[in-house]
């Protein structure tokens, strides 16, 4: 099965590759800025950052259109940026400003954008899987060619809804792609302490779902596998389970002392940096010159700097907004 998902040359155009690169750098820039802002006491709340995992978000979302939906997790900034979320409104949400995606009331773990097909970052582990299955059921009932993608970590395999969702999606042959980012840690616990199977992809077979374990730090491999899985779903072929091996550079949350892992382990994965690897690939395989890559990097960091500047300048969300949107059809 892994072979079927393997990438082939020419599948991704230079233009698409540069878009993917821009998304990866925007994510890294956003996450780095957020880390600094929290450390500097300028941001309230919690942060769970995805530095090191940009390849999965950028690669998978490159295979999706605006009409497709995603659900993501507490570590969802990258997916939201890759799916077309606005860094301005995301940053405003992190700052607790009224212009944020949830009027600055929900924070980092709850970005939602109906226009971009972001059905939401949901901070209960595994919670997004049934919702993606439901979005796919809706597409099937309504005869639409939309696909839903559920992003989750390998820790979600411990939740019953992971198994229930795979079962239901396979039983009904729904257009959903389950994307597991196996970043080696469920919160503070290494995968060897919480997962019985060798690979998350092993759970595909019992449910009759095609599945593969792939290198999540090779963004072209991710993009290629996602194209195949999404295409299959769109054509009525049913669900796919993709497990991408990657690594979380930062702690589970910002401020996590990380006593559970060694610096050597972190360094060994940093040597497999998805961004640096793709940069080399772009220079070698796509003949993109370094100046172009530098320009994209500058644009990405400028966009994030502007977002920070704008968001921080806004007034804090007012207490009068507390009762807004609790009900769609008027308050109780």
């Amino acid at each position: 099965m892994t072979e079927w998902f393997a990438s082939s040359d020419g599948e991704i155009s230079s233009e698409q590759a540069l878009d993917i690169y821009r998304v990866m750098l925007t994510i890294r820039s956003f996450e780095s800025a957020a880390a600094d802002l929290l450390a500097g006491g300028r941001l309230p709340g919690f942060l769970h950052l995805s530095i090191g995992q940009e390849g999965v978000a950028a690669g998978v979302c490159s295979a999706l259109g605006p009409e497709d939906g995603i659900t993501t997790t507490h570590r969802g900034h990258g997916h939201c940026i890759a799916k077309g979320g606005s860094v301005d409104r995301m940053m405003a949400e992190l700052f607790g400003r009224g212009e944020g995606y949830c009027k600055g009331r929900s924070g980092s773990m709850h970005i939602m954008d109906a226009d971009a097909g972001i059905l939401g970052a949901h901070a209960i582990v595994g919670a997004g899987l049934p919702m993606a299955v439901g979005a796919a059921y809706s597409a099937k009932v309504r005869g639409e060619r939309r696909v839903a993608v559920a992003f989750f970590g390998e820790g979600a395999v411990g939740e019953g809804v992971f198994h229930e969702s795979l079962n239901l999606a396979a039983l009904w042959s729904l257009p959903v792609v389950f994307v597991c980012e196996n970043n080696r840690y469920a919160e503070l616990s290494h995968v060897s302490m919480h997962l019985s199977a060798k690979h998350v992809a092993d759970f595909g077979a019992p449910y009759g779902i095609p599945a593969a374990t792939l290198d999540g730090n090779d963004v072209l491999a991710v993009a290629s596998a996602a194209r195949k899985a999404v295409g299959r779903a769109r054509d009525g072929g049913g669900p796919t389970l993709l497990e991408f091996e990657t690594y979380r550079w930062r702690g589970h949350f910002e401020g996590d002392p990380q006593r559970y892992r060694s610096r050597d382990e972190v360094a060994s994965w940093q040597a497999r940096d998805p961004v640096a690897r793709f940069q080399e690939r772009l220079e070698a395989g796509f003949a993109v010159d370094v100046a172009e890559l530098d320009r994209i990097e500058r644009e990405a960091s400028t966009a994030v700097e502007r977002a920070v500047e704008w968001a921080e300048s806004l007034p804090p969300a007012p207490p009068t907004s507390l009762l807004e949107d609790v009900y769609r059809s008027g308050s109780a």
Binding site: C102, L119, M131, A135, R146, N167, L171, E324, Y327, R328
Partner: protein, 327 residues
């Protein structure tokens, strides 16, 4: 007006709404080919097809979560959770996701979904099929919670819930399943969510209840006549709660008894008593009394069920107690 049983009114409401709006669908364990564990969805799959009336695995959390995802993607799903107790399995999706979608998306998404569930109370269903957990649900901002005591309301409240743009939990009573009543044929027979009904007007004491307990409150009122003139208020909607209706009745009678089949501690009766104390303090002539089961799991055999759930004699005693106190 035709007479229908409580379950037939539910069946009719779903049939009419499935007919009215192609975005409406029904998901749940045994709802399709079998027509529902208790017959509520009889013949609906034949009429509306196997995709719109869909049998699911026994996966309460996932089917409620899938209904939520579908409701955010253009459908208006009804999910059946076979027993109220099984809501506990689905609570993450109900409480953490569905209830908060509108708030978390600043109103850009909403969740027009209905969760129908059955209170097995009074039918020998025991500790894991006989609980009343409405207080859990009414405690959550973003959810609406309704409970009909009559077939006409079973139809009208469910239809309102299906057309509502927020997630609504519709609780049904197995104890009322075969109860007959007049049910309007009007396809737009809608009972507004958040409006209580006065089932019996009276001057001396207000008895507030909902679901099957309403009928025991009415029996108690009949037994107390002419000694005490009891007003029986059927709340119908736990959330939003008809505060104005409650206050108007308590202002009139000056005495309040709340009867429910959920246990008392931290229960809905405490909320209602507190609201009345806050708003009607000057009108109250006696402390508010709650008539509830003891703080224990639900037993199954008939004699223990009778001892556990509030009976007519318990309500009569509570009403007499509040009327004996100060004038």
């Amino acid at each position: 007006m035709p007479q229908l049983k409580y379950w037939q009114a539910i069946n009719q409401a779903m049939a009419e709404e499935l007919e009215r709006d192609p975005a409406t669908c029904l998901l749940g364990e045994d709802v399709g080919a079998a027509g529902g564990a208790f017959g509520a969805s009889a013949k609906l799959q034949e009429r509306f097809g196997e995709w719109r009336v869909r049998d699911t695995p026994i996966s309460e959390a996932t089917i409620v979560g899938a209904a939520l995802g579908a409701s955010m993607s253009g459908l208006r799903p009804i999910v059946e959770v076979m027993f109220f107790d099984f809501m506990a399995v689905a609570m993450d999706q109900v409480v953490n996701q569905a209830a908060k979608i509108s708030f978390m998306s600043a109103g850009k998404y909403h969740a027009p979904m209905v969760v129908r569930t059955m209170a097995g109370t009074g039918r020998g269903t025991g500790p894991q099929h006989g609980q009343n957990l409405e207080g859990w649900l009414a405690h959550v901002p973003g959810l609406k919670v309704v409970w009909a005591s009559e077939p006409a309301d079973a139809k009208g409240l469910l239809k309102s819930a299906i057309r509502d743009d927020d997630p609504v939990v519709v609780i049904e009573s197995l104890a009322l399943w075969s109860r007959r009543g007049e049910v309007p044929e009007d396809p737009d027979h809608l009972v507004p969510i958040g409006r209580a009904a006065i089932r019996r007007a009276g001057r001396d004491v207000t008895v507030v209840s909902w679901g099957a307990a309403v009928h025991r409150a009415l029996a108690a009122a009949a037994e107390l006549e002419p000694e005490v003139d009891v007003e029986v208020v059927d709340l119908r909607s736990l959330s939003p709660l008809d505060r104005e209706g409650l206050f108007a009745s308590v202002e009139k009678t000056g005495r309040l008894v709340v009867v429910h089949e959920a246990v008392g501690s931290f229960g809905p009766g405490a909320e209602i008593a507190s609201l009345a104390a806050d708003e009607c303090f000057d009108a109250l002539r006696a402390p508010v009394r709650r008539v509830t089961p003891p703080f224990a799991p639900v037993p199954f055999p008939p004699q223990l069920e009778k001892a556990y759930f509030p009976q007519v004699t318990d309500i009569v005693a509570a009403v007499r107690d509040v009327t004996r106190r100060a004038a």
